[in-house]
Symmetry: D2
Subunit: 356 residues, 4 copies
């Protein structure tokens, strides 16, 4: 089952970045539109959003940086965390391995791809790799592992437990690695019933992680949290030289302030996961096969060629992979904008018997 992210154009549950912003976010941008503030993120909204994030993460000394997109925050941050002779360990199915057009390599670093299951890397694979590296007589000729990239949730919607993250942290400490967590869909991880990892845990265990906005209700934007700012010296200049500093930086501050105060971010996550759960239960009812049991906002279903065509015709979900038995895996992704009626539309199409 190959990983392929782009919708075939499905406008219902095709992706979680098909609409604009959650209405509250847009309202905040509108409310503040006429105000005049200094540029490049040195404004009161960014300051307040940063303070709020530090508080939610219980990380009073953390630095917070705002970006416009996930590939950007991954590439710039990993590039800054890695020394020139280091690479980053990641699942072979990780977004940085597959779907960022080689952005990490473009910055000069190898993505060292390790085996994974359902999108998850295992601490044991990391330990095995690092032990071999440090035991190799030719280690100076080999790319040194500098850190670990995880995504929470993963590209398959699965989650790391707190226990697993603690084990990763221990492996990191053992081998001098940093731990970086990509939270593009973090709202859905936080909202999943089985999740036991909160913002404070991420701040306590990782060297950097980001709170996703693009796929979680923002118009655009991601918020990088760096618990120990000394890990990323002169990071504003580093961002600037990657074209990653927004002139009207306050737009990002306004958005994250809106998302993270008064629990909007949690409500968005809960709604999305609730819609995905409804779809998963419906699929179970009609006996559809779900190859991966994601607990977040992604749902994977095996469908016949006929069903696939029907979904395409209605713009429902998106292509994930074409299997050897000619069936397809389709992915449905829910968001703040998904409604129960969307779920029912999908189910009604998939309930139709093939031969009808």
């Amino acid at each position: 089952m190959e990983n392929s992210e782009k919708s075939f154009g499905g406008t219902i549950m095709g992706t979680d970045y098909a609409e604009g912003a959650h209405p509250d976010v847009l309202a905040a941008l509108t409310r503040t539109n006429a105000e005049s503030t200094p540029g490049y993120g040195s404004d009161i909204y960014c300051e307040k959003a940063q303070e709020l994030i530090r508080s939610l993460c219980e990380a009073p000394g953390a630095a917070v940086y705002f970006f416009t997109g996930g590939t950007q925050v991954n590439a710039v941050t990993l590039g800054a965390l890695l020394s020139s002779w280091q690479g980053v360990l990641a699942a072979g199915t990780a977004h940085i391995s597959l779907h960022e057009a080689g952005a990490v390599e473009n910055g000069g670093h190898k993505v060292i791809e390790l085996p994974s299951y359902a999108g998850k890397l295992s601490p044991e694979e990391v330990r095995t790799y690092c032990s071999r590296y440090y035991g190799d007589e030719t280690w100076e000729h080999i790319v040194m592992p500098g850190g670990i990239y995880l995504s929470q949730p993963t590209e398959y919607g699965t989650l790391y437990t707190l226990e697993e993250l603690r084990t990763f942290r221990a492996v990191c400490d053992e081998f001098g690695l940093f731990l970086y967590v990509d939270g593009a869909r973090l709202a859905c991880a936080l909202a999943a019933p089985e999740n036991d990892v909160c913002l404070r845990d991420l701040a306590g265990l990782s060297d950097a992680f980001y709170i996703g906005g693009n796929k979680c209700g923002a118009l655009f934007g991601e918020a990088l949290v760096v618990p120990d700012p000394k890990r990323l010296p002169h990071f504003f200049s580093v961002m600037k030289q990657h074209g990653a500093v927004l002139a009207k930086g306050r737009l990002l501050g306004v958005q994250f302030l809106t998302l993270l105060q008064d629990g909007l971010y949690e409500r968005i996550g809960k709604h999305a996961v609730g819609m995905a759960d409804a779809l998963r239960q419906g699929l179970d009812r009609i006996g559809a096969y779900q190859p991966i049991q994601s607990p977040t906002n992604q749902v994977f279903v095996k469908v016949s060629p006929g069903q696939y065509k029907a979904l395409q015709a209605r713009g429902l979900g998106g292509f994930w992979s074409h299997e050897e038995d000619e069936s397809f895996i389709v992915r449905f992704v829910s968001s703040w904008a998904t409604s129960l009626s969307d779920v029912e539309t999908v189910l009604s199409v998939l309930s139709v018997k093939e031969d009808e």
Copy 2:
């Protein structure tokens, strides 16, 4: 007189990116917010905006790409236009020389800084440099000039005439150079009474130029025009690997469609230049010294230390340079959001006699 762009915090005429979007742009984003479209710019709004830009440029074969910021579009595009052994010729006062934190060099290319006057590079300087390069026996050991970076208007608000751009084009053709034009404040160039260069000219004479949005009424964004798309093969992937592809790409399409249809972009430019003209005339009336006579939306004034303090206290304009005679050069920048009342506030402060 050194070039320094950041405001000292002036909220009135300190910069042209201090406010959000022109209300019409925000209205369009609000109107389309709930729509569901494919991601990464493959939506109908981007398509329409691209078509409109091609039409305004009378360049039916042009490719149009949307970016979130100026440093980003400069760095990614120049990096793609240059071969690895080439550098880009630019004024020593150019934005890429001074204020982009070395983004071009970060991408592996030398910015070859040439002498300039009031922000303008001269075709003769380029010709002299290239002649010397090609006449040098050691040319293979030297960075080859690959293209020219101009800004229209320049960082000092000055303009290239159509005649000058034609001469640059001729020099480019003579020495195999590309011509790239940074249009961060292009609306103000187009609106200046003395301007004789239109979009069609830029499309006809340059290999790539961008229509600035951030400083010209957009919430955010810049639109790159590439008259001959073959100059930038696989440019989507290049942008992606620089983190320069927006997930909700349509946000940029919606904005540029709004700005460029029905003449909004021109009106924004005219308003801004009008406000700057009003300030310039007022300054002339009160006998203030303007070291550079910019015809666009930037106004430079020499002020005494006392006046400088008074401006700072009121949040008017921004620091540009500190002169040897202890005076300051202050820069005022107008935008769609500047009012005549702002202009009068500035003039009233500068009209006060020092010894009063």
Copy 3:
């Protein structure tokens, strides 16, 4: 069986770069030492060596460039052949994948690691990968395969047949890939009895390949052959900016002229392969297990911990891997400097019964 190249210090058959130059090469450097020639490879010796290589390759239009080492020629050439959005396909066991400290990634490109057997990549793996890439809807988000890296012989001493190389060429033509062949130990490939690929074939089928000097009798140096020079424009400047142009460039010309005229290169290869064959036959006689049947100058033997210690103590061969059953794989490498007496010393140590 993991790939690990460095000797544990074995001075007999530990590596093929343990000694200086073949005496004839050194004699030529001595003979020409006092001559005065222009620098950077623009001398008569480089010119003659280039002419000779063109002639041996039956490639009258080829460009030839000299480098000081294999990682250097690989990194600079692959970097120049690849467009910025492309990666290079290689066996996971390839030298560029494992033992060049991430040089290709340092230059901005992904090494796309494919499955391999005994060091050999298969054309089918490449075809499968490329078909999937071009069939993927998200291909623009993925690193485009730009070319194939092969080594002849491979890192395991195995060889590609002419038929296999022709199939690779066909796959390259089908998918717009270049074919690059690393010939670090090319003399031994050319000299292997089972080999059916000559210099002319390499020039006819690849876009670039190099004739190894460091491991084949030179004091130092590798000679890159580019059948169609237009593939690598301004390559002198590219080399220069990678610090890969030798001031006294003629040293490389003198060496390759000596190696390639009068059949010295072939004699060196034949001697080395002959010594490896003698070792292989001896190992068969004493019943040692050879996990890979390399036909060139590398010999792999499984040894017990006791035998391993004995080899270490005598400085024979080098560590390759430590197996799960506690045994070791040891690699022996022959060169122009290996003697039959060296081979016999190795065999005598491995003939000793464990319990003696």
Copy 4:
């Protein structure tokens, strides 16, 4: 007077890298040729040469690394000393500014070119630049100065005094800069009568400098000295990923051991400077104009077009620049291989009256 390094093909005093190695160096390579040693510089000769260099520099804790060329050592070392957001300050006439094909920029860093006189940078220029940088409100948007590049002797053969180097060190300490010294022709600096800077001074004042071999009697090679090795962590891997590790690393150890023990390096420098002095005195006698009074092994003379042709015809010296009055500046460079007879040949050609 423009800087142009390549000879017009002069085989007498055209360059100092026109011949092979000093005979003693070649003899040492020949003597050790058949020995078998571990690769990549982990051999006894490299170890001894490193120990000797540490001793000569009175820097017992220094790390020493060997490279094959000057552009290579400059690019790799500066790239490793600089953080990604930093550039290096250098004279506009510096080798890294002009003649290394943009190698420093290719590694991602700006060469910040400062005014210079006769090849020399002044500490005051550095202080002025840094003061302005740290006083600029937009400093985060500007490339941070990370260190200073000097060459001793400079590209014009001039020298920094000990007092000047101490002032540079003080400026470095004031602004957090490193000091890097390019010693491509260091033997000639050390041998100049007016020189007061020894190896110990360079080790005491710089963060890294290199002892040139290519232009000072070696067959090839440069020796980088890093007084505090912590400045360049994992530098072997950094070198490897730039293709800068020689397989038969011992070749460099053997050469530097030979050059630096028993005073050979000093004798080579003294001979070269002596020959240049003889030429300078002869030129004074015949009334030739020397625009720069270099105290080392480079001699610059103004010649008429007729004299220029005569020099070309005889292969004497090399082109430096063509002046506005149609005259030429020719450069003569002496080395261990230059003889008094060479000097006299040059003088005899330049003594001929134009109208004869």
